[in-house]
Symmetry: C2
Subunit: 342 residues, 2 copies
């Protein structure tokens, strides 16, 4: 049983100043702009700071300086493997700056995204990174009103509020689909989860390529409105085999779905890639280790995160927010799951 630290415990800037025999503002400077304080005074002050265990109050700082230094990252389903690299990129770029990151994981639900966005707005953010573009007008409107640069990441097929960085999901899907055709698959399905913006773009690309080849069949597009997972992949492959026994390949919403599909094939004795080809999306770490290894589309996630923060930093300098779209490109990684002899 530990007692609550009382309010008077809190060490403030003036406490430190008093003990160090200087004014508060000098302590403040010693902490934030060491160059502007004489070395000896600075050292003395920092020593007192250490001794007293002074911790700056960010709320007070934000209020006085009108600068929270906070960058909000809003994403539905923050916690998927796909975000690991993204977050690493973000943090690596933030570390040497004086910004700080706050993540919010919203539901893909519009109402929840609005809630989280308003919450960020309440904190005078220095920037906003938005992942889950839905095209919802209320969200767009709120983003446009944001008094800070906004970077929409992952997909760049949409005109962004300010800036966007990522890849063109439609083109990526076209590449994947073309690959499956080249490998000799003809009855190609698309297995997916909820149709968010990126998924819709991919469907467009998928459809366009198959139609051009005279191979598109809407009955081969299967999805359910739930989040993508291994279980979903398993389930959808099951449905596919029942509804369209002649299907011979699947372009999956992501690698989890692809993995589920792969397992289900194994369970049914469907040989991958001979009887059935599988292509995932994202190129997560495990894709290369699966057996057979899974063909996927590699997305430069680390770089997207890193550069998104970079764009915010640059935009903060100027007084305006440049309209800008950065295409980082994707890469097809052909592996065992589509390595059929042609």
């Amino acid at each position: 049983m530990r007692r609550r630290r009382q309010r008077q415990d809190k060490v403030t800037l003036s406490d430190v100043a008093q003990k160090a025999g200087v004014s508060a503002i000098t302590v403040s400077r010693a902490l934030r702009e060491p160059d502007k304080v004489s070395p000896q005074l600075r050292d003395a002050i920092l020593k007192v700071v250490e001794e007293m265990g002074y911790v700056p109050d960010l709320a007070a700082r934000a209020l006085a300086s009108k600068n929270s230094g906070l960058v909000g990252v809003l994403s539905p389903g923050l916690t998927t493997h796909a975000f690991l690299a993204l977050i690493r990129g973000i943090e690596d770029r933030v570390r040497p700056s004086d910004l700080r990151i706050q993540y919010a994981s919203s539901d893909s639900d519009t109402e929840d995204q609005l809630r989280q966005l308003r919450f960020f707005m309440s904190q005078n953010p220095a920037g906003l990174i938005h992942v889950g573009q839905t095209g919802d007008p209320a969200i767009e409107d709120l983003l446009r009103r944001a008094p800070c640069p906004v970077v929409e990441i992952m997909d760049i097929s949409r005109q962004p509020t300010d800036m966007a960085i990522g890849i063109d999901h439609r083109l990526a899907a076209e590449t994947a689909t073309r690959h499956l055709i080249e490998k000799g698959y003809r009855r190609i399905a698309m297995l997916g989860g909820a149709w968010d913006l990126r998924a819709r773009r991919r469907l467009e690309g998928f459809k366009a390529v198959l139609e051009a080849a005279g191979l598109f069949d809407p009955a081969l597009v299967l999805s359910v409105d739930s989040s993508s997972s291994v279980g979903l992949g398993s389930h959808l492959l099951d449905r596919l085999v029942t509804e369209a026994p002649d299907a011979d390949a699947a372009f999956c919403h992501n690698d989890d779905v692809a993995l589920g599909a792969l397992f289900e094939c194994q369970r049914r004795g469907l040989a991958v890639p001979t009887d059935f080809g599988i292509c995932g999306f994202n190129d997560l770490e495990y894709a290369g280790f699966a057996f057979p290894s899974i063909t996927s589309i590699r997305v430069p996630r680390y770089e997207i995160g890193y550069r998104a923060v970079d764009m915010i930093i640059r935009a903060s300098g100027s007084g305006t927010y440049p309209a800008k779209i950065v295409d980082l490109g994707y890469q097809l990684v052909a592996r065992g799951s589509t390595a059929r002899q042609t």
Copy 2:
């Protein structure tokens, strides 16, 4: 190119008050404690708030009220599948409260954790949730000093600063190991990543059970100091087969490692579970869908998150922070990967 919203754009409480013909505090109350304002006035005020697009300034609020309402969640590697359910639990409990959550993903590195902790401290947090117990004294010290309740989650084998909720990882490992023995495996390996606290506890349990059975062999404990992943599982199984060809089962650091081991077995034609048994940890979604499905230890992650927040809320009411350890228990989920006929 969008112009920066100017400072004077910002609508403040008094702007709203003025337009509504009341005082600032009344607007403040209408927003936070609607009951204390007459219905008609309240409606009028809320209408003006809406019209003017007023957004409260959380920094000012936190400063004035000495209450940030912020709960910090610090975890190394926030972004693993294992955290999905945890975060859902946290958010579900937070939603109806007036708290807000801020996640920080630290490296498992002590220095980085300290950095992030100090950062939380700078914000007068209402509570702290800590995942990556390392037993590091500097971190413990900082947590002890925190002027708010602290809940350490996932493992409960350690005396916490205030409170802890989770499972006993040592016991869980004992159960898993016993299961492998019961299934007739005798040369049981342990495959792991970095030896964080939880992993060490599991090793203890693993070792204790095998020693009691006269089966422990240190040569079968393989790990590398890198984060656990499918690739690692694959790699470690490869090493295991080389160094100890007679090994016949593995208790893995988590399901990712188990999956990697499973793939590697398939690649080598090692039949699972007949030739080799595999047990994972966490019981992630995909464990049940793999082929063969993967035996694992189910950890009540959603509930841990939900109740951790709950503990903070309750502790905030009282003036003291109860020393408390909550054991939520785990469950062995026996599946195909260890289903050897005995």
